[in-house]
Symmetry: C2
């Protein structure tokens, strides 16, 4: 059995994987510039559905890279996505990763408001964003926030509300909750946003791994 | 758009999700006792392929639950899986989660041996297991290790070698690497093991999320 293993040097495994993905995608047409994102999602899941279900707003890659270069931070709704995002790479540009899901004040706010902790996390992120924005007024997006949502539809719904109430203006929303209850609908909500850049994993599929790998695919393009 | 959301109380979202999964599985026959594992993998990925690609060794659920009850710890090959495993629940029985991927000695050993860090992590786990076994000799499986592999085929290959060399005897191997290079083959290796309980996500699919959710599905059965 052991002799059936392909001989690939550790450093070359990822390269070889992307070659196989490219081969198997064949003539599949991807939106120019989005290939690294699509291919990394397939790399992370071995699921070629991501060649069809990722939706990109206009110029989102360009805008996301600008935000990251300017030091945008990433807010996510799971500790798993936080663990998966390349924090060293992000820190090179000044950003960091926040996940408030285990915070005591978030648990209390969720209980008080009869909502989910994920929704309460978005309120906490919006408050942080407004505080920073007031403190260090500048137009370079240095206080920018990217939202990488890999689990909770309620986080996307709350983001949608906060944006419409003028309380938050994300640099990018990565909408990749996974599952069966309000997942599809919450992503469709994000697709209706006009001036907010988004990358949406349309349908039921997604996950913390997908949210993290979309962040990483952007970081590796810098 | 907001009024298209299904009204489900936060506490009931998971229950409703599992109802939908059960409905959609329809008459699909699952091995008795494995349903919670299969359904949680589908819950985590929204991918019904997991109804077909999970392979269970004989009596694996029973044996895994016994190991966990006896305080087995979990070794995983990614920080993401570590983040995703319910560590509080595991700690109730005396176990903890180890991921050695970021350890300096692991990086050095991998470099020295021309292998991957994931393979070096398995060596470190085996050394830990032998040390504990020598120190606290008992037959209750209290020094038991469960391996939850969600990324690296090389980790599975090294586990296979260590077991055959008599240097390690895991209580359970969760074999769920994802990807394109040696992933399929490394899982087939695990399927040839005779006396080691396993849960294998056969084929290319898997991931840290799947490895973690299989651990959690077992913990929630206790």
């Amino acid at each position: 059995m052991l002799n059936e293993l392909e001989q690939v040097r550790p450093a070359d495994i990822e390269k070889r994987s992307f070659e196989i993905i490219t081969e198997e995608l064949g003539d599949k047409e991807l939106i120019p510039g989005t290939e690294p994102v699509v291919k990394r999602c397939i790399h992370t899941s071995a699921d070629f559905d991501y060649a069809d279900n990722l939706v990109f707003s206009d110029h989102v890659i360009e805008r996301a890279l600008t935000a990251l270069r300017n030091g945008a931070s990433i807010v996510t709704d799971t500790q798993m996505a936080k663990a998966g995002i390349n924090k060293k790479r992000l820190a090179q540009y000044g950003g960091e990763v926040y996940c408030f899901m285990s915070d005591e004040d978030v648990a209390q706010a969720a209980k008080r408001n009869g909502t989910t902790r994920a929704a309460a996390c978005m309120d906490k992120a919006a408050a942080m964003w407004r505080d920073r924005d007031r403190r260090e007024k500048n137009a370079d997006g240095e206080n920018g926030l990217i939202f990488a949502i890999g689990n909770a539809p309620t986080a996307l719904v709350r983001l949608y509300e906060l944006i419409n109430e003028g309380k938050l203006k994300p640099e990018l929303i990565i909408a990749a909750p996974v599952g069966f209850v309000n997942v599809v609908q919450s992503k469709e909500l994000i697709l209706t946003l006009k001036d907010i850049p988004y990358i949406v994993a349309r349908g039921r599929k997604g996950g913390s791994n997908i949210a993290a790998c979309i962040c990483n695919s952007l970081l590796y393009m810098l």
